[in-house]
């Protein structure tokens, strides 16, 4: 077990290293001059050269990458022309636009993303798994058919359309809720919850379609297995067969997929964050792209990579805990 975790973490470190090489190669070898972009439209060649010097862009690719790694593991110094800024490990660089440390920026944006992700998790576990279970219990009946159509419709709805429709109906037409603006939890918990309600519903309902299908198909698959026949042949009632034995088969995949999805949310919920103006990692990434702020983009992608890779390890562990037959190797 410990051995497995260590092995997986070592593998994860390799994946992240590969990702950093990839991202670095993409951004620093791509056509276009980062110095020019960082400096802005109206810079003259001398200013650009200065910026290039400051950003260390005159060094070779390998030296730049080595410095990047050095920053991540032991920290590095940046000179801004007049003064030297110390960037402690794990240093993901300085923003071109604001000179802010990317690590700090990411930490500032983390709570908003976490708020969104955890709330959505609750929604999809309740709505998605509930729907899936209900349609498995009522299989063959009208309830199942209605739920199948709803699930299918939800599968076909991109998250930004769902969000836009919810905004239109709930905020503009019915005026049940004000247009959401992000309020940090620490500032005003009640306002935080009210403002997050719509984003949670949007992301949660969007994911629910997948979980409903997953729950339903895993449950039905288990229902088709031989051991279900055993319990039927021993007089166990249908409800007990479904809830006790068949649903149990849906637990490992739902738990594992939830863990993975939660990892994806850290940086991956770009559309939802952008639509509702939540200042999370996804929004940070998007702003970084719009402003061609390469260190910010690289930083967010790396953080997201860490989240996804860790979530993968956690998902495997949870799956193995939920299904003891699985041997972790």
């Amino acid at each position: 077990m410990t051995r497995y975790v260590l092995k997986r973490l070592a593998g994860a470190a390799l994946v992240l290293l590969a990702l950093s090489v990839l991202v670095y190669a993409l951004f620093y070898l791509a056509p276009g001059d980062p110095a020019r972009l960082a400096c802005g439209e109206r810079c003259n060649p001398r200013q650009i050269a200065q910026v290039r010097e400051q950003l260390g862009l005159n060094e070779g690719v390998f030296a730049q990458y080595a410095h990047f790694l050095q920053g991540v593991f032991v920290g590095r110094d940046y000179s801004t022309g007049t003064s030297v800024v110390r960037c402690d490990a794990p240093c993901l660089g300085l923003s071109y636009q604001s000179d802010q440390q990317v690590t700090q920026l990411v930490l500032e944006r983390l709570p908003a993303t976490a708020s969104l992700a955890l709330g959505a998790l609750v929604v999809w576990l309740v709505v998605g798994v509930g729907t899936g279970l209900l349609s498995a219990l009522r299989r063959g009946g009208p309830t199942e058919r209605i739920l199948t159509v709803l699930t299918l419709a939800a599968t076909g709805t991109p998250v930004f359309i769902l969000g836009l429709l919810l905004l239109m109906v709930v905020c503009a037409y019915l005026q049940w809720l004000p247009f959401p603006t992000y309020v940090p939890l620490g500032e005003n918990p009640e306002q935080w919850a009210w403002n997050m309600l719509l984003p949670w519903l949007t992301l949660g309902l969007f994911e629910s379609a997948k979980y409903a299908r997953l729950t339903r198909s895993s449950t039905l698959e288990t229902l088709a297995e031989d051991h279900i026949r055993t319990f039927r042949a021993y007089g166990v009632g249908e409800r007990a067969v479904v809830t006790r034995h068949a649903l149990r088969g849906a637990v490992p995949p739902v738990v594992a997929v939830s863990a993975v999805d939660l990892g994806y949310m850290f940086g991956g919920a770009v559309l939802t964050e952008s639509l509702f103006g939540i200042p999370g990692l996804g929004k940070t990434l998007l702003d970084g792209v719009r402003e061609i702020d390469l260190p910010v983009v690289v930083g967010v992608v790396m953080v997201m990579g860490v989240a996804v890779v860790l979530a993968g390890v956690v998902a495997d562990l949870l799956y193995a805990a939920a299904d003891r037959r699985v041997v972790l190797t």
Partner: protein, 550 residues
């Protein structure tokens, strides 16, 4: 236990079960009637498709809600199964009649402890507290011979071996003290030694509790070991029914005679003794080894095996699951690379040759595979598959290929005109014939047959083994016949090697190994083979107990 001596425990009258299939309906059971008294044992014996398992399901009303059409009447323990309400049906299932299924791994819920599963079933029928039910579960697990039952009851099914799982299923059946146990192929998934243990246990439990037994099996030997009466089924109908010794000893129906005649037996006729092999062996393995995995986790599937195969002789290789016999067979034709030892073919060392260097020898070493489904590409016509070795040998003339394929199909007893048909249009036995034809197309000198008949019904088995023997005699092939079934191997082989744990524990002529086995494992294997003679079966049961005690 109360006895209703006036009414039989099971009364089936004119039972018909029909299923809807693509393109019409099928009658799985067709007008079957029988009775079974309290404490008696009846076996439903038949080949695949005979409807025997469908009958077993009907006794517990398992066809309800599946779309099957059930007519006729089934009464079990005074309950009319067809008309029973849900409550009564639940009481019947497990309470009056308990089912033991074929595959003990998939028949138990993988997510719960075995003790909990038994307790769950027990509480449904006996009520009472969770703790009492759990105690009862441990009690029955102990009864079926699971050591340290209290602790092991907390294990999940995958932590048990196959035999232990089957014991646990029996324990579940016993938990509610049913009056009838319905066992559907209870030992088919098990090795022969474990099968013998389970059958002995079943026998003992019945003697103790007086529970009646309805045994569904394809294996006449298993039936002979376990029941008082036999009902032979075919195509959903009864062929013959009567006391076990008269049906098996003096069958009156031609089909029963054919069925019994096809069953290979340890006391059956041997093939005419071949002259002792002389000269150079065709194929020779010396200390052949194969390991899987690397480093500390390496496992030797074949651990130093030496054998020879001469032209015109059959070497039988027997062993239980995990003995390494399939790995050995695949190494002999170089589908797997040996990790140690030597393999000589016609005097040339071929064990370490590369694929390119192997080319001249490839076609002379052929294989017939176990699974008639996966051994033929479903997307290619059988003629195409058979023509593969011809094309690979450089034959380009389509008419010559065509006529050779037809010739081969004819030779293995298939209609030559069916060369354009696809594998799914053939039955299992026919597909195995196609596989043999493909092997022959390469004009081999050695053919390794890996369980070539274990997926087939006995009557088909007999035909395929006869074909192999005939071809061997005609072509002077060196044959390696790998199987788990001791009686089949005895029937077809000149010499036999017994494998266990990757090694050959005993090797010799058929007379030597079967007549006077030297190794204790061989002796145990032989004692475990079910006998067709019920009297002999009882005798052998005694011998097994002696061997186990020794």
């Amino acid at each position: 236990m109360t006895r209703h001596s006036e009414d039989p425990l099971v009364e089936v009258r004119d039972l018909t079960v029909g299923f809807d299939r693509e393109g019409g309906s099928v009658r799985a059971v067709d007008g079957l009637s029988f009775t079974l008294g309290e404490g008696r044992a009846l076996a439903l014996v038949g080949e695949s498709g005979s409807g025997k398992s469908t009958v077993a399901g009907a006794l517990l009303g398992l066809h309800r809600g599946t779309g099957a059409r059930v007519t006729g009447s089934v009464r079990v323990g005074g309950i009319d199964v067809g008309a029973a309400g849900p409550g009564e049906l639940r009481r019947l299932r497990g309470g009056v009649a308990a089912m033991v299924f074929q595959d003990p791994l998939s028949a138990l819920d993988p997510y719960y402890a075995i003790g909990d599963q038994i307790a769950e079933v027990h509480r449904i029928h006996a009520g009472g507290s969770r703790r009492d039910a759990r105690a009862r579960a441990v009690e029955v697990l102990d009864r079926v011979g699971i050591p340290d039952a209290a602790r092991r009851s907390r294990s999940r099914p995958h932590e048990f071996s196959g035999g232990m799982r089957q014991r646990a299923l029996l324990a579940m059946a016993l938990a509610c003290e049913p009056r009838l146990i319905v066992a559907d192929e209870p030992t088919t998934a098990l090795d022969v030694t474990v099968q013998a243990q389970i059958l002995d246990l079943l026998h003992e439990l019945r003697r103790e509790t007086g529970t009646a037994l309805l045994l569904v099996t394809h294996d006449v030997g298993v039936a002979a070991e376990s029941v008082d009466e036999v009902l032979v089924m075919r195509g959903g109908r009864e062929i013959e029914r009567g006391p076990v010794d008269s049906v098996l000893g003096a069958p009156s129906e031609p089909y029963t005679r054919r069925l019994l005649g096809a069953v290979p037996r340890l006391d059956g006729p041997l093939r005419p003794a071949a002259p002792a092999p002389t000269g150079e062996p065709l194929l020779e393995a010396v200390d052949l080894r194969r390991e899987f995995g690397r480093g500390k986790r390496a496992v030797a599937a074949v651990d130093g095996v030496s054998l020879t195969v001469h032209a015109g002789e059959t070497l039988g290789v027997v062993g239980e699951s995990g003995s390494g016999k399939t790995t050995l067979g695949r190494m002999l034709v170089r589908l797997l690379d040996p990790t140690g030892g030597r393999l000589r073919y016609g005097g040339t060392e071929i064990g370490a040759l590369s694929e390119r260097e192997l080319r001249p020898y490839r076609r002379e070493l052929q294989m017939v595979f176990q699974d008639p489904v996966s051994s033929l590409n479903p997307r290619r016509s059988v003629g195409e598959s058979i023509a593969d070795p011809l094309r690979a040998a450089g034959e380009r003339d389509e008419t010559r290929i065509r006529s050779r394929v037809r010739e081969l199909l004819d030779r293995v007893g298939l209609e030559p005109d069916r060369h354009a048909a696809y594998p799914h249009e053939f039955s299992g036995g026919q597909r195995q014939r196609v596989g043999i034809a493909r092997a022959l197309a390469a004009e081999p000198r050695v053919v390794v047959c890996d369980e070539p008949v274990s997926a087939l019904d006995v009557t088909t088995q007999a035909q395929v083994t006869a074909l192999l023997a005939e071809l061997q005699a005609e072509l002077g092939l060196g044959l390696v016949f790998i199987a788990h079934d001791l009686a089949v191997v005895r029937q077809v082989s000149d010499r036999v090697a017994v494998m266990r744990g990757g090694r050959i524990v005993e090797q010799g002529t058929v007379e030597e190994v079967y007549g006077a086995p030297q190794d204790p494992y061989t002796r145990r294997l032989l004692a475990a083979v079910p006998s067709l003679d019920p009297v002999l079966a009882a005798e052998r049961r005694g011998r097994r107990q002696e061997l186990a005690a020794a």
